[in-house]
């Protein structure tokens, strides 16, 4: 089991896949990291030597913002919008879509499960 970037313990999957278990690392960054460290992306995490794992850990620590730091930054950005009183902030406060999507129907991701309206049916 390899611990990278704090709490994450990716499994015995291919390195490019396993790295995606870290919040803030997706397909593109995982591939980038593999290239930087010089690890073939097909190799599996349990095949890596300790020094290679260490190298990965270091590149992530120095070059990428992941996990807690990233979450905090996103939260702060949203907070800033809300405090400013700008339109996007208002939408965040209301829990409605921020980027101009329709809300007549859909928008369920932001609004959550549909609430029944009293007296709608006849």
């Amino acid at each position: 089991m390899a611990r990278i970037a704090g709490v994450n313990i990716p499994t015995n999957k291919r390195v490019t896949i396993a790295l995606r278990y870290i919040h803030g690392i997706g397909a593109a960054k995982a591939a980038e990291i593999c290239e930087k460290v010089g690890i073939a992306p097909e190799r599996r995490v349990n095949e890596l030597s300790d020094s290679e794992v260490l190298q990965i850990r270091e590149t992530i620590d120095t070059d990428y913002m992941v996990e807690g730091d990233l979450r905090r930054e996103v939260a702060v950005n949203i907070k800033r919008l809300m405090d400013q009183g700008c339109y996007r902030g208002l939408r965040h406060r209301r829990g409605l879509p921020v980027r101009g999507q329709r809300t007549h129907t859909n928008a369920r991701t932001r609004k959550g499960p549909a609430k029944p309206i009293a007296g709608k049916k006849k």
Partner: protein, 92 residues
């Protein structure tokens, strides 16, 4: 897609003039503006604008955070007070 950098930020000319005058102490109580489309520039920081929302002028005090946004973002054009309780009343 964001605006091309080489064009520079868009601001209605008259706002620049008014902001300058306002720094000299004119326009007490804020600059009246219909230009919701104008970008907020660093030289506007600390000034108050009254931005028209189609009905009223909403006072907007410009802070450093707001630079780069448009004036319209701070002057909501819609009001929504939730769906009425009247429906419930009708049923009972």
């Amino acid at each position: 897609m964001p605006r091309s950098v080489w064009k520079g930020p868009f601001v209605d000319r008259y706002l620049l003039k008014k902001a300058e005058e306002s720094q000299e102490g004119k326009h007490k109580g804020g600059i009246k503006s219909w230009s919701r489309r104008s970008t907020i520039l660093p030289q506007f920081v600390g000034l108050t604008f009254n931005v028209y929302n189609g009905q009223k002028f909403i006072p907007v005090h410009v802070t450093e955070d707001m630079v780069g946004h448009k004036f319209g973002e701070f002057s909501p054009t819609r009001s929504y007070y939730g769906h009425g309780a009247d429906k419930k009343a009708k049923r009972k």
